[in-house]
Symmetry: C2
């Protein structure tokens, strides 16, 4: 019996999108239980690096590569891709709703739809109307889910999740945990899964 895989993600993160597109199939194939952990990169970047923006927006050379690399990876993996016209998008509302969603069977479907809205359809995931539509498409009652998501209890829950990420050594997304073992970046998904399944994969 293997350990679970935690995927810590932010809906604004390009490489989180790549991980989210692959993780369900990969975890199922490895026989590993997947735990989705939404959190916010913004407060983490602020606390660790004093940044008020994505690190990519402070480093244009690295950003130019990131956009090329993500488009290339999407093409390679047959993942739909449209470069968002705004980056990073505000992911606070979507993350709050995702926490509520992930208590329900339709949670993963909602997560997938939010990522696709941002990175395949160039839609504003910060807009309430967008979230309502994505909730309905995932099979939820949008008004009920939104009412729960913006209640103080779920605002606190997202803040605590971000604090937990910080405490456990997260510095970016996607990040994977298998127990206390941290794997950073979409490129580490297969290694994290191998660890969770009970061994370390050899190259």
């Amino acid at each position: 019996m293997g350990a679970a895989l935690e995927l810590w993600f932010d809906f604004a993160s390009t490489y989180s999108y790549l991980a989210a597109e692959r993780v369900e199939h990969a975890a199922a194939a490895a026989g590993v239980t997947l735990i989705w952990r939404p959190f916010l990169l913004g407060p983490l970047f602020k606390a660790q690096q004093g940044l008020d923006d994505s690190p990519f927006n402070r480093h244009p050379v690295r950003a130019a590569y990131m956009w090329r690399d993500v488009a290339r990876e999407c093409a390679r993996l047959s993942i739909p891709w449209t470069r968002p016209s705004s980056f990073p998008r505000n992911s606070v509302l979507a993350a709050r709703v995702a926490q509520v969603a992930l208590d329900e069977p339709w949670g993963p479907a909602f997560v997938r739809r939010v990522f696709r809205a941002n990175f395949a359809e160039d839609r504003d995931i910060a807009a309430r109307d967008t979230i309502v539509e994505l909730l309905a498409a995932a099979g939820a009652d949008p008004d009920a889910a939104l009412a729960r998501a913006v209640a103080p209890e779920h605002k606190d829950r997202l803040r605590r999740a971000t604090e937990e990420a910080t405490r456990r050594g997260v510095f970016g997304a996607p990040s994977f945990f298998v127990g206390d073992e941290l794997f950073f970046g979409n490129e580490r998904l297969d290694l994290a899964l191998a660890r969770a399944a009970g061994g370390m994969m050899r190259a």
Copy 2:
């Protein structure tokens, strides 16, 4: 007939070490010609980010992960590893000598020995005595190689290499080029090789 693979590396870079340990065997297996391109990260970090030190030394949380990740990768890939007692080590002399070395058949052997000295044996690769010993072990005439390496022509050559890296969009190491296509990070070695061999590998 495939394209060549350029590996841009700095002897101070942990992930360059991982790439250097794997690249010769992997390139040969893919039928791809390998071109070693030493350069200096220091001037690049200074120009792009205003840094006078490794970015890892400015971001302790990320650095803690990097040390764990590199040790884990070395264990997985059976690469010898000792965390250097000084980081980043000054790699200027070693890079100058490497340029001279890579004009000769014993160049790759010298490069491998410098990386192992830094990351497997915790030796000071900035020390002339260390370089002399590594040159001799690689089959070179140390005095002749050192005399050439510190000549103005080779100082200029290293400066120009670093300028070329900057001009082509490099922001860290290891970086791979296949023609104009940039792949950043040890994790992209296999994709870069697949591109060089004439196709894009599918996951």
